[in-house]
């Protein structure tokens, strides 16, 4: 190559590298904007609400006096509703995804199911609330209870769990399945012994994303009829006499954190706004610890898999 051509090539490479740099800077800028916004929100809420956090705050019921108001009924309600949501969404979502990936034949019926699931993801959450009101609260007679709320939110996050599980199952190389079949495994054995355990990290990711969304959903819960001022807890699941386990708490009235926050924010007194900020901080911490737990489990499980 002669000198001119080499020189031209060098200039071309330099131009391309400049674009590389510009793109990296733009990417970093966008990321920073997003991260800084999040940090700003959290810090703002922490400055307002952190002084309010105390043992009393966690163990008091709501009250007309802001200094005595606490989030006991709210965080217990959120925890119980999240338990029911998980119990509803995870088995149904995982089983549905396994059916679609491993068992469903490639016909119009399967296509209809898949379209329906995709559409479910786009339904506004208030519509879920209306559905739940008609179906769970009245038709099934479950009333304005934790069970209704849990089932509604379970429906809400079902598409997220299904999609994440399907992606996780698809990422398993077919040679692994073939190895299982070649040893004489049935489809169920291959699914239970191999496909499900290896997709667990992906399934957990979907569950995290779903639960993090569900914990903050307010509209459907209000529609079902969660009360905003509750001065009692649902009945305890463990009782003193036989059979020692009670499911009465499922049918109890309740409230959740977002509703409590909303209620406090709508009051004129500034002290209640501080309560709301403190509750918001607690809600954020609950979400982050759920995420952290699932990430940790995912990390432990992911270590065994290398493909």
């Amino acid at each position: 190559m002669d000198r001119n051509a080499v020189q031209e090539m060098r200039e071309l490479i330099a131009r391309h590298k400049r674009w590389d740099l510009i793109f990296a800077c733009v990417g970093l800028l966008c990321l920073s904007v997003a991260a800084l916004t999040f940090v700003a929100l959290v810090v703002d809420m922490a400055i307002d609400g952190a002084p309010r956090l105390s043992w009393d705050f966690f163990t008091n019921f709501p009250s007309r006096h802001p200094a005595q108001a606490g989030i006991l009924s709210a965080w217990v309600g959120t925890t119980l509703v999240m338990l029911v949501t998980a119990a509803a969404a995870i088995p149904v979502g995982v089983a549905g995804a396994v059916y679609l990936e491993e068992y469903a034949p490639n016909n119009w019926f399967t296509a209809i199911i898949e379209i329906n699931i995709t559409n479910l993801a786009g339904v506004p959450s208030i519509v879920y609330g209306l559905l739940a009101l008609g179906l769970f609260v009245y038709t099934f007679g479950l009333g304005q209870s934790i069970l209704s709320a849990g089932l509604t939110l379970g429906l809400l996050i079902l598409p997220v769990v299904i999609v994440a599980t399907r992606e996780a199952i698809r990422s398993i190389p077919s040679v692994i399945r073939e190895a299982a079949y070649a040893l004489g495994a049935t489809k169920w054995q291959s699914t239970w012994d191999h496909v499900l355990p290896y997709s667990l990290p992906g399934i957990l990711t979907g569950v995290i994303i779903g639960m993090a969304r569900a914990i903050g959903e307010t509209a459907p819960i209000i529609t079902i009829g969660a009360l905003t001022f509750i001065a009692f807890l649902p009945p305890a699941p463990v009782t003193a006499q036989f059979p020692f386990l009670s499911l009465e708490w499922l049918m109890a009235p309740f409230t959740v954190m977002p509703i409590q926050m909303f209620n406090w924010t709508s009051r004129p007194e500034a002290a209640f706004h501080q309560n709301a900020a403190a509750a918001g901080l607690v809600l954020l911490l609950m979400t982050l610890s759920m995420n952290a737990l699932a990430i940790y489990i995912r990390y432990r499980l992911r270590k065994r898999i290398k493909w």
């Binding site: 490639n106 040679v175 073939e178 190895a179 070649a182 040893l183 049935t186 012994d193």
Partner: protein
Amino acid sequence: MATGALSVKAQTKALNFYYVAFHALKGINMPLYEKKVTALIGPSGCGKSTYLRCFNRMHDLYAGNRYEGEIKLYPDDTNLLDAQVDPIEVRMRISMVFQKPNPFPKSIFENVAYGLRVRGERKASVLDEKVEIALRGAALWDEVKDRLKDLAFNLSGGQQQRLCIARALATDPEILLFDEPTSALDPIATASIEELIADLKSKLTILIVTHNMQQAARVSDYTAYMYLGELIEFDATDTIFIKPKNKATEDYITGRFG
């Protein structure tokens, strides 16, 4: 080369196979002799892997595949390709080792024991014993006996392939199918696998697909040359490589073609 009464373990009769509309195997007739190594050779796309996978009904896993003809397994005269014969039963009698080592992301012990668990074996003592026998049979026991609980992925490529062989051996198969077992391995690992195959043939029948003609010449007792879905020639390895009867075979062997 071992001598003695030559008995047929499986007889392929007029086998035609279709990948949906594509006619992949055309009128294959071939015996598979018991306790001998038979090699399938031929250029890419000739149908040797397709033919191999007919033996354990792997094609049933994917929609649209169709068999015609039969592969009769002796001594019980079962037609492996019959729709009435459960593919799972076939796969419990005929095991397979794949091209790229594909151990499960589990421990070494669990990998080898899986075939036994599928058959309902629960007793720990029985599992321990059979896993050890299988690992010895695959010449891997000495290297892994102290770390059976280790992840299989921590083994080297050659060790992983021997683990896959142990996994296939654990269930005492009647036929062991090898689909280009050493094409993803280095020469030293390849040599150890070939040595293993030479040992194994005293216990079971082996059918091996290989891209490597020298490997076929080293390892097999019988060789089948396939081209474009047809069986061109089947004979003792010595005959195929020294005095093939078909000109097409001779062209392939001498490298004039393929």
